[in-house]
């Protein structure tokens, strides 16, 4: 019988820690998540069931430390030449068990990319924040506070809005930034965040990249308020909520990269967001394959197992064809991020646009395939017990976040066709 490891991966450029990551995370998934995940939906507010799995993965196994330099207690992944390939494998394995855990874990790295990755490693801020993540056995969550009430993910549509729609302000007062604003939806908000990376502007309405600021704000700073988590269709492990910043003061050096560079390197965070999204889709679809394998082997129609029914086999083939392609695409994009010498910088318009294209291809295909898989399983397809509907709900969320499909389409068209006004 085929295994998920039979789906193709580019063996010639896997990261040196690929096998290690894969092994420990798969063991964690089998023990800490898969036996419990069908009860996660009821745990969306309290995380009594979910929290131990996070603690083991991020604190116990130490995976929340991986981006920081080794001398600060990290694993040095941020200055390696396989950051993206290793990240992809890690996220794929976690998402096979639960993509909600995958996104909460992955997003913890999201603001840290701004300060841990070469060539813009910010040593001072790494030293500042490394102890928070590296000297604990508990899971510690970070979040990117981007989306705002008035225009949703418009902020991520950087080529058009260029920061002009950002209403959260950062004002320099002596040696401190004073931050005011209201953010919605950050993954890892809803009360659990320890460190925010806040997208803000130093001059409201400005399209000057120098006015775009990415500033770190410890969640326990006076003036930071996290609302209760939102209830969603899926991804119970991922808490999202409102966050208010009222006269929040942080040191001047908490700005990630500085004028112009915050704008530039924030696009790298978007590239990693797209890579993570593809990894979540790929991981979840690996598990969908496992579920379908079990169902279609052991359910019968006219005396033959479902997989031996030609029409059903046609659907199964369509689904695995897409899984195969999504995985190859994810690794290809990882390699593009890992080799800027060949493909261009991670923050270039080209890399961002291609990431958007791959992300929306992967999530569109997966959403459609999951719908077909559920239909193939008849009423069992909507049973929580079979867990395929969980992936259906979760992957729909992946498809919709980060500006959704339309933003992906516009960025893709803009780069390939040199559109000027989209």
């Amino acid at each position: 019988m085929r295994k998920i490891d039979d789906f193709t991966r580019p063996k010639e450029y896997l990261s040196p820690i690929d096998d290690y990551f894969g092994k420990i995370v798969r063991q964690w998934a089998e023990k800490e998540v898969i036996p419990h995940r069908r009860r996660y939906d009821e745990d969306w507010q309290e995380h009594r069931l979910i929290e131990p799995a996070f603690d083991r993965l991020m604190g116990g196994l130490g995976l929340q430390r991986v981006l920081f330099p080794e001398d600060l207690g990290g694993w040095g992944l941020g200055h390696s030449h396989y950051t993206a390939s290793a990240f992809f494998r890690l996220m794929e394995e976690v998402a096979r068990a639960d993509s909600g855990i995958g996104v909460a874990f992955g997003v913890t790295f999201w603001p840290l990319i701004m300060i841990c990755n070469e060539p813009h490693l910010n040593r001072r801020l790494c030293e500042e924040f490394a102890p928070l993540f590296c000297k604990t056995e508990k899971a510690v969550f970070a979040a990117n506070a981007m989306t705002e009430p008035q225009g949703g993910a418009d902020i991520e549509n950087m080529e058009i809005t260029r920061g002009a729609t950002i209403e959260t302000t950062a004002t320099l007062d002596g040696d401190e930034w004073v931050i005011n604003g209201h953010k919605l939806w950050p993954t890892n908000s809803g009360g659990i965040c320890s460190l925010f990376g806040v997208v803000c502007t130093t001059k409201q309405g400005s399209e000057d990249p120098n006015d775009f600021a990415f500033i770190f704000v410890p969640a326990d700073s006076p003036g930071v308020t996290q609302g209760r988590p939102y209830q969603k269709a899926g991804m119970a492990a991922d808490k999202n909520g409102d966050v208010w910043f009222e006269q929040v003061r942080v040191p001047k050096h908490f700005r990630a990269c500085g004028p112009g560079d915050d704008y530039k390197y924030f696009k790298e965070a978007i590239s990693f967001g797209n890579l993570g999204s593809i990894a979540f889709v790929s991981g979840a679809m690996m598990n969908v394959f496992e579920i379908l394998q079990q169902f279609c082997e052991n359910k019968f129609y006219r005396g033959r197992s479902l997989k031996e029914h030609d029409a059903t086999a046609g659907v199964l083939a369509d689904i695995v064809k897409d899984i195969e392609i999504i995985r190859i695409l994810g690794y290809q994009y990882s390699r593009m991020l890992d080799r800027p010498d060949l493909y261009g910088s991670r923050w270039s318009d080209e890399i961002v646009a291609k990431g958007r294209a791959y992300k929306y291809f992967a999530s569109d295909r997966a959403v459609e395939d999951l719908g077909r898989a559920m239909n193939l399983m008849e009423s069992h397809g909507s049973d929580r017990a079979w867990e395929i509907e969980k992936h259906w709900r979760d992957i729909k969320i992946v498809q919709l976040w980060m500006g959704g499909k339309q933003l992906c389409q516009m960025e893709t068209a803009r780069w390939f066709f040199d559109c000027k006004t989209l």
Partner: protein
Amino acid sequence: MDNMDIFPFLKDSAEESDILLAQTLKRWADRSVISKRLEYREDYEKLLKPAMQKLFIDVELQKMIWPEQCGGSGLNSPEVARTLALALEQVGRADTGIGYLCSVTFALCSSFNFDCDLNEQLCLRMAPLFCETDDPVIGSLVLTDFAHEEPSASVPLFRGKRIPAKARREGDSWVVSGEKMRPLNSGCDAGLFGVFCALENEEEPGLILIPGDSPGLRRGEPILKTGLAASINAEITLSGVSVPAGNLVFRGEEPLRRMLSWLYLNIAAVSVGGLFAAFEIIREWGDTRVIKGKGNLFKENPLTASLMAEIAHEILLNRLLLHQLAGMLSNPDIYRQSEKGQLFISALSVVSHVTQTAEKAINQIMELMGSAGYATEWNLERYWRDIKTMQVHLGSWELNKMELARYFFRSQSL
């Protein structure tokens, strides 16, 4: 503008009373469900159960298709198809789960209380359950399974599908047995089950009515599922349940297909109602959201407007299809006499198309709304989960297509 006006249907065939009923149900939907769902989400006790009480008892939907002589409203002729289409649209708009319960209940009762198939004795015996009570009563069906677990030749099959229960005749009774059978809905609280059974010593299987309080009927634990919160489903086991011989509603394929045709009509109507609700949500979004900075209304952007147009296009076509099917079912003299099985094939095609395109349309609306699409606060994602759940309850589309192939191409071995 009201949804009943913006999306056309065959108004020339609708009675004034049908329109009035739909308007009453719209008011019920707005007051009993839509205005309260932000507070109660899908809470069964606080939202769904009180709404069902009003719908089934106060609005008297529970009595609607029962003969007058049995205490019903007397809409027990096939002409009620048009009434049902308009009514269930509104119920589905409020809550697709409640609409689904109505769909199955009406389909079950249609099999013995419509004047063309009237079983008067059975009607008189079952009517008090529905017509002389102040509590909602839900009907449920236990039908054939496409995919089943036992490959052995001993499993009774009907057109390749497993027959879930067996019944043997003992004097004036049928004794029915079946293990861990999965009803279409409400295994925990249905008041009446129609169970498709292999009949001992008979070639054709049949549908037998099993009242919910029958000795020997055991209900399992509630099944956790994606949607349809109003349907608290569970497996049921029948251990030698004895019912009067007259509880056998029908034998064979043709009456089963007639009943299924009504089920499909009802589910298609509920799905169109779900699309109406989704339309209202995206219309509000398009009227109020801005993109690409301040001042650019969502509905004025060519890309998003194009997708919104596709969604409206699907709703419009689905409603036309639904009411065409209602017209066909309401004219059995014309359509039952045409090619054998045509009505069933039309109903199967329409409900499959409506539920599949409804899934696609709501998927697109969710895409347009981004994170709000999956936040329960916006009330869209519940329709997405409900319609998908109804769709998978219709059976695998891959295997349902075999029915179409058999009909259109005379395939013999499928």
